[in-house]
Symmetry: C2
């Protein structure tokens, strides 16, 4: 058994059966091993940002890491932006990076780069195998790291000779450990804060936004008269009819600060202190009011869900159900507005849909209008590295076959990872992409105004995407994804319904 074969067997022994791949020469022995050993599904992506974004989404929907297959330092580098988003989503990913043979690396061949430096910059765990006998063990350690609650980026660098040499040994990683329990004293302290009558907020992140803990948090805040808020960009949020109608930290800094106004006690559950996305001259970076007490009930690595259940019990909050969200709206008509798009989604999305939201500036109002939709999961751009919507849709659809994925995709951001449409076509994934074609970097125009600048020609030229116009129907068609344009909400509704009714991908260019 060579090193590559020991790696494949170690992945299989760990239950990892999906590889998102953009292979190169140094990975040929691994590819050959995948050929010989059945059991792993390989999903080819045409660039690495699609690979890593797909792996992120796969973890978000399945809770299990996928492996990625990447080529040397530069190929890994192409995947870093979406690994950044995966890190912020606290997703587990096992990167396998083929690299120069151990004895070839000192020769400084053209593709040789600082693969380890790049890996360290983004990974919680980085390991370079030095012989075929170590590959299985190193892979097991990487898998253990990726699975560490709530999930981590692990990168295994595989020099070509460690893949092709004989002497591979299959390893079996330790099963995932449960999350660290929250001390009883912390739960009691949180209960005391919620009882002392001061204005208090629960801020939830990560696994505390799963359906059960979110409901417990809602019951707690209803009972205690506290506020409930979520992280700005949830990795996966269960929403829709029967679920808790929670809001997120708003992106604009002034609205972000306003969301915490008057709060004197802030209880963090599986999240960090709330901060603005960027700094702005003369504005605070922390969102909570000056003097607000911050209490960490649980870090992202701790068992916030169990702590919330215990806290509700401690407080004696009843097991109430969230309020009825009212009737599911009818499909709207007329001109395209953010509210109209949300209503259209709420009216037409199927049960158990997965919504991918890289709508950026246009999508800030989508939450209120989709409360009465059927139960669904909402997945966001967690790390602000734009260009993960199309890749997330790939990974979500691969990880959750049978569920319709609807990607709300800003046009500027889509261009960073447009090649992912090809993988959607190749794998016949049930993805409806709605391109929100405003033909500009709208968020930057807002930010430029925020710095007090009155944009001139040079600045405008760097924020407008209308010269030439991107023709999304042609782009999608060029990659085998059928597409059509919508200019009204009626047209959007008709195309959305049509795409949901058929198998495979579809793209709607929505002129907004």
């Amino acid at each position: 058994m060579n090193g590559a074969e020991s790696l494949v067997h170690t992945l299989l022994a760990s239950g990892i059966d999906t590889v998102f791949a953009n292979p190169g020469t140094s990975e040929m022995h691994f590819v050959a091993a995948l050929d010989r050993i059945p059991g792993i599904k390989c999903v080819l992506c045409l660039d690495e940002t699609v690979v890593t974004g797909a792996a992120d989404a796969y973890y978000r929907v399945t809770g299990r890491p996928a492996a990625t297959l990447l080529h040397c330092g530069p190929g890994f580098a192409n995947g870093i932006a979406n690994l950044h988003n995966a890190r912020r989503a606290r997703s587990g990913v096992v990167n396998i990076v083929g690299d120069q043979a151990t004895y070839h690396r000192p020769l400084d061949a053209p593709l040789t780069a600082d693969t380890e430096g790049l890996a360290h910059a983004i990974s919680a765990f980085t390991c370079r195998s030095t012989s075929s006998a170590e590959v299985g063990r190193d892979a097991a350690r990487a898998i253990e790291a990726a699975r560490r609650y709530p999930g981590q980026i692990a990168t295994l660098i595989l020099p070509a000779d460690t893949a092709w040499e004989e002497g591979g040994v299959v390893a079996r990683p330790a099963p995932p450990a449960p999350p660290e329990p929250v001390p009883e004293a912390a739960i009691a302290a949180a209960a005391a804060l919620l009882r002392n009558g001061k204005p208090t907020m629960l801020l939830l992140g990560g696994k505390a936004m799963d359906e059960a803990p979110l409901l417990e948090a809602w019951r707690i805040t209803q009972h205690a008269g506290a506020k409930l808020l979520l992280e700005r960009s949830p990795a996966r949020l269960p929403r829709g009819r029967g679920r808790v109608p929670a809001e997120r930290i708003p992106y604009p800094v002034d609205q972000g600060i306003a969301a915490f106004a008057g709060i004197e006690q802030l209880i963090l559950v599986n999240t960090q202190n709330p901060v603005s996305f960027f700094a702005y001259p003369g504005k605070q970076g922390h969102l909570e009011p000056v003097g607000c007490e911050i209490f960490t009930l649980s870090t992202p690595e701790q068992d916030g869900p169990a702590a919330l259940a215990a806290l509700r019990w401690d407080l004696g909050a009843p097991e109430s159900a969230p309020p009825d969200d009212g009737r599911r709206p009818a499909p709207p008509g007329g001109g395209v507005t953010p509210e109209g798009v949300a209503q259209c989604l709420a009216a037409l999305m199927p049960e158990d849909a997965i919504i991918i939201d890289e709508a950026i500036s246009y999508g800030r109002g989508f939450f209120p209008g989709t409360r009465a939709a059927p139960p669904h999961d909402w997945m966001m751009l967690t790390g602000g590295a734009i260009g993960d919507g199309i890749p997330l849709a790939v990974g979500a659809a691969v990880g959750a076959p049978g569920r319709r994925v609807i990607a709300l995709q800003a046009d500027g951001s889509a261009m960073y990872s447009v090649a992912g449409l090809w993988t959607q076509a190749r794998e016949r994934l049930d993805v409806t992409t709605i391109i929100l074609a405003n033909r500009k970097y709208a968020i930057l125009l807002g930010e430029l105004a925020g710095v007090g600048a009155n944009p001139g020609r040079t600045a405008l030229d760097m924020m407008e995407l209308s010269n030439p116009v991107l023709d999304w129907c042609q782009l999608a068609g060029g990659m085998g994804v059928p597409a059509a344009q919508a200019g009204t909400l009626e047209e959007l509704g008709a195309l959305l319904a049509e795409s949901i009714a058929r198998k495979g991908p579809f793209l709607i260019e929505l002129l907004v």
Copy 2:
């Protein structure tokens, strides 16, 4: 004057007047400064790999660095692969990376990443400004580093508050220093080697492949009965009628080794020891024969061109001219072959064209067939990080207006940076892209065969791009680049001639 304005003035004072940009929020003050201060041309690119590839080509054609404008760690990461190619091309690039404000970075906002770690992994010079007063000085140091002969990657990290705070000071970098001279003893030693009658080869790289030193090297080898060979992938090679007909190190390892067979003395001029691109089981990594003496006449940082002129003088080699290359061929007809494509190019390319060659496996035979073409520059994928052809074409056309750029582009590689076509349309660049549509990763099929594997379904699925077919006319049209398909050499010739006769970009999908 704020820090951003001091940066713009420092760039202008250094003669840097071109910025390839993909800006984000943290760069808004720099964008506002570009608005207020005239003199810098900003070229918007829709992803960062286009930005950095364009800056690489700009340096290759002008000898002057461009600046790049990139957004935080993840945006920089998206540009690393083409910075890797730029590093291997020994191009000077000044990266400006907007980042979190100094006091905001410790808050770990969502987009915060290890920007410095990423920069260090690829840059010869990395600096993070810590106050607005330092920005001008730091920029000058970055420019000095980028210009250091023959060219380097320099990265300036610009926290947002160092851009917006007052107190900026314009700096003026030291003028570029001339290259380090080659000691006379080294020239004498090389002359002695060339006189001792043993089989000898001159291997040229970097600036030693400019027109004048290449001619001197050819005269030396003609006179001394030595062989002449070039680096595998020249950053820029002057070719065509009246120029030296030199060959490069072949990519396939066996052909690479064969190119050095029988050589007992190898003289390096502005290049490194020749090595195979990758290691292969049982094959040597060094290309020169065992026992071959290697003598470094000049490192890439030294003045190899002057050393070659002195060496020719020392040897008494005459100032002969290269042989006539014969008649310029007529446009060919018939089915598409690599030789036919080369002949078509030779027949139709205009005087002083710039050829961008990311043809990968299909283009290995393009050199012999284009010798009798008019004088032109040939620019290659230097670092093996595929996806730089379209970006290189952008940068070459911006840097050399009035010259037709012809990009020979493999289809699989093109998908990594396809968004660059939009910038070609927006800037109305005179670029003809010929997509060599073989609809597979042909090089990987060769590599898989090279490792002795008989590819099965899983492996083939990761190397074939035919399901679905990429429709390049739609992809180009979607980004505003007119396009047409060619299935014969006649059709290729007609479209090539048509595209050369008109202004602006054009794309030919050549079915091969």
